[in-house]
Amino acid sequence: MKFRYSKILCTIAVLIGMGPQARSLPTMIRLGYTNCSTCHISPQGGGLLNAYGRGIDQAQSLRGGDYKPAEGKWLRFFTWDHRITEDVRSVTQEQIASTTGKPGTQILRSRLMYRNATDLGSGVRFSMTLTAENENVLRPTFPYDHPTKTGTLFLNTSLLSYRPKGNLEIAAGRDQLPNGINIPDLGVFVRSRNRSGYYDSLTQVKIFWWGKRYLITPYAFGPGGNEQTGERESGGGALAEVDPFGHQHTVFGMNLLRATSRSRDRTLIGPYARLGFGSWGVLAEHDITNYAAGAKFGALQQRTTYGQLFWYPKEWLLTSIGGERLGVDVPFKQELNAARFDVSARIASQATIGFTLRVQHDPLSGRTVRSLALNVALKTVT
């Protein structure tokens, strides 16, 4: 049993664990951006940038310079007089991996996204993200955690939002749940093993309320519709973070979640921190997930840890080293340790390239997986 899970986990965790930087950048804490709402249309981060965010995006690229929004009669017509913000984004990843005692693997993944945010007036907005991809890579299957299903086309986000005040937003629909350090790589253990991976889009209602030194996000959720039988979770939680020193460079937070399903219940406690000081910073998260006893197995605990030290030698060049850990109690005992090195260069606001070197070791099976991935992300900017 242990051996089988170790093999599956080694292979799949590496494949999904090398996601490209396609979403929000929590490293912006280094410049005093404590939350995502300044640059992203959605206060949860990720997805489309607002005009200011597009300006920052371009300013922090190798190309640099001022962002000048496109203008024109036709553009005004097609964007409903600039009420519609949209883009098309492609992320391509070439990845090679080798596992102790096994032949190497190579995979080319390509993902194409259409993202749209339409301002309906009076603070109401509709957002959607639709993804098409050539290869689905589901997270590993375990008796206590079955992956969600997907197809060639996947609706990541379909959300109706209302912002009555500049620092308050209420949103309802289909989206990923609010997340701790909110790193863009959805394949890391703290995300993929806590049902916050690529295909985990749940029906939900959430509130974002933020200020200079705090962000509070209560949420309630139900199934997304693509879960396997018995795995359809409902529940609620809250994410709260604070900047204790008020200097906009240190954020400490906690994510609490409770979910129930037919097969078992789970609770998650996830403290996290985002620290940034000029050109460098630290991101860290530790999630403890307790699974209640179900019909088929007893109670168990899963622990996932993520740590990253990043450094920007140039505004457009990100380098980082990091580590991850996964630990699961018996009867599904697992232990995985991983280290990674990332380099990502923002060539222009339309193009980012990067590579990731990752080494993962399973002390139970003695297997080591080494992998190298090259990512190219392109998007339209108007």
């Binding site: 280094r30 410049l31 005093g32 951006y33 404590t34 939350n35 709402s37 300044t38 607002n50 005009a51 200011y52 597009r54 300006g55 920052i56 300013a59 922090q60 640099g64 310079g65 001022d66 962002y67 500049g166 620092n167 933020w210 200020g211 200079k212 030194r213 962000l215 200097h247 906009q248 000029g278 050109s279 505004e315």
Partner: protein, 215 residues
């Protein structure tokens, strides 16, 4: 006659004593202190909830004449300057905008930020080595001088040559200098900018002991 002589002697004695007291109190020869390493930082809120803009410079330079008196320290001829080009916020384009929209004069010049004050007193706090100084002077931004008050906390570092570590805060209003806070895609900094200054000052050797004036 004798009474008159005694009166004159007493008068001279009182005058000598008074002069002596005054001399000890305020006429210690001033020593020139130069800023050896200094940092200045600024921070302002914006109209976007939760977003502040902050920047700093490590290129603070300046000098001051310091003398001890019974009340504490007397600061004279206070001068400090920061090259505008050394101010950085972490985003080079934002620095460019800051220089262009805030610090550039109408004729295209980019003068340094300068602070000057004639005199200030420092009173001891807790120990004889720590002082609080209320400095009222003038700050020049893009060539426009306006009054500014800075509260400095200074600590004398032991031994010779004389040296101090000091830090202080001030509030600058851009509107006082005729500057309208620039806006970038709807994000606009506030009119009030909090300024923090930290520096090490060390006795300069280029001072004449007799006059205390810098050469």
């Amino acid at each position: 006659m004798i009474t008159n002589s005694i009166f004159k002697v007493c008068l001279v004695a009182v005058a000598i004593c008074s002069f002596s007291v005054l001399f000890n109190a305020a006429s210690d020869p001033p020593q020139a202190i130069e800023i050896q390493s200094g940092n200045t930082s600024f921070q302002t809120i914006t109209n976007v909830p939760g977003l502040e803009v902050a920047g700093k410079s490590s290129a603070v330079s300046g000098r001051v004449l310091v003398s001890r008196n019974d009340a504490g320290l007397l600061l004279q001829q206070i001068e400090a300057s920061v090259p505008v080009k050394s101010l950085a916020t972490g985003i080079s384009l934002r620095d460019e905008h800051m220089r262009k929209y805030i610090f550039t004069t109408s004729d295209g010049q980019l003068p340094d930020l300068e602070f000057k004050a004639n005199e200030a007193s420092c009173v001891p706090v807790a120990t004889t080595q720590e002082f609080t100084c209320h400095v009222s002077g003038e700050l020049s931004i893009r060539g426009v001088m306006k009054p500014l008050s800075v509260t400095l906390r200074a600590k004398q570092q032991g031994g010779a040559p004389l040296s101090f570590r000091a830090a202080g805060d001030a509030l600058v209003k851009l509107s006082d200098y005729g500057i309208t806070p620039p806006s970038q895609f709807g994000v606009r900094p506030a009119n009030e900018v909090r300024v923090h200054l930290e520096f090490n000052g060390k006795e300069s050797r280029q001072v004449t002991a007799s006059t205390g004036e810098a050469r």
